[in-house]
């Protein structure tokens, strides 16, 4: 692996993806809705979050395909793929959790009194979002 320029030409500033803040706002919408007993709001928020999370992963795959450099090219490339790839793995896990939450929401498992599953899934999703803000600013902006 060679030490290379920062960043390589394949990556442009502000290149990336669905803005994660939109994704997590919908998750907060889902949580707020079920606290008020609004099941339709919960279902809408979860489906929207699921779709935007899947869009995020899809754009990440497209970005990897178009970058023009690979993990072994430079030290930046290795760091870039390490950071964004690990985040992508966390998003994938989050999507699996969201999928289970969405199925349970449509089966009527959550209510205003009992929504612990939504609460915990939401905390994980926000953790993933905070990590993306750090990665995004470090890799794409600064």
């Amino acid at each position: 692996m060679a030490a290379g320029g920062l960043p390589p030409s394949g990556l442009r500033r502000g290149d990336q993806h669905a803005d994660p803040r939109h994704v997590e706002r919908n998750d907060a919408l889902a949580d707020t809705s079920i606290k008020k007993g609004n099941r339709a709001g919960l279902q809408a928020g979860l489906v929207l979050t699921l779709c935007l999370g899947a869009t995020f992963l899809a754009t990440q795959v497209i970005e990897y395909h178009r970058l023009g450099f690979n993990t072994g090219d430079t030290s930046f490339a290795a760091t870039f793929f390490g950071l964004t790839g690990l985040h992508g793995a966390h998003v994938f896990i989050g999507l699996m959790i969201l999928l289970v939450m969405t199925i349970r929401a449509f089966r009527g498992h959550f209510s205003a009194e009992h929504h612990h599953g939504v609460e915990i899934g939401g905390i994980y999703w926000h953790f993933v979002d905070v990590m993306w803000i750090v990665v995004y600013v470090t890799v794409y902006l600064l």
Binding site: R21, V118, I123, V130
Partner: protein
């Protein structure tokens, strides 16, 4: 110490704080690289100061007050085999006005009814009920 991420709302607030933190640093670095570093040091110091000086005491546990009228009585149902034990019986005698087996009347008749269709359950329940009643009588409970 109170967990700062106890709820989804706490985590959501932390997301916005993180966004604000990085926006300040990014805007500072756009103006001038060294200004960006200075902003980073200042906002990090502010974050540390807030974290270590915040109120970490647990919020008092909310007590709910009973809504029932003053002359309303409460019924404790003990639904396991330990009611035959002398320690529990003496505790019940100390705290309660009257004790009665739950299967003594209509519920007991239902259990023995053939319509229930569970003869094994009936044969299991009845000896246990008789043993509990005998144990209650031994402790001079009005069973």
């Amino acid at each position: 110490m109170r967990n700062p991420f106890r709820s989804e709302a706490d985590a959501f607030r932390f997301v916005w704080l993180t966004i604000g933190y990085f926006v300040l640093i990014f805007v500072g670095s756009l103006i001038n690289l060294w200004f960006g570093i200075a902003v980073f040091i200042v906002v990090t110091a502010v974050a540390f100061r807030w974290f270590f000086r915040r109120d970490t005491r647990e919020a008092p546990v909310k007590q709910t007050t009973g809504r029932e009228p003053a002359r309303e009585y409460r019924i404790l149902v003990v639904a396991n085999e330990t009611v035959g034990g002398p320690e529990l019986l003496s505790e019940i005698r100390e705290r309660s006005a009257a004790v009665t087996p739950a299967c003594s009347s209509s519920a007991g008749a239902q259990l023995t009814a053939p319509a229930l269709g569970h003869p094994t359950r009936t044969t299991l329940v009845q000896p246990r009920r008789r043993a509990s009643t005998r144990a209650s009588r031994r402790c001079w409970l009005p069973a």
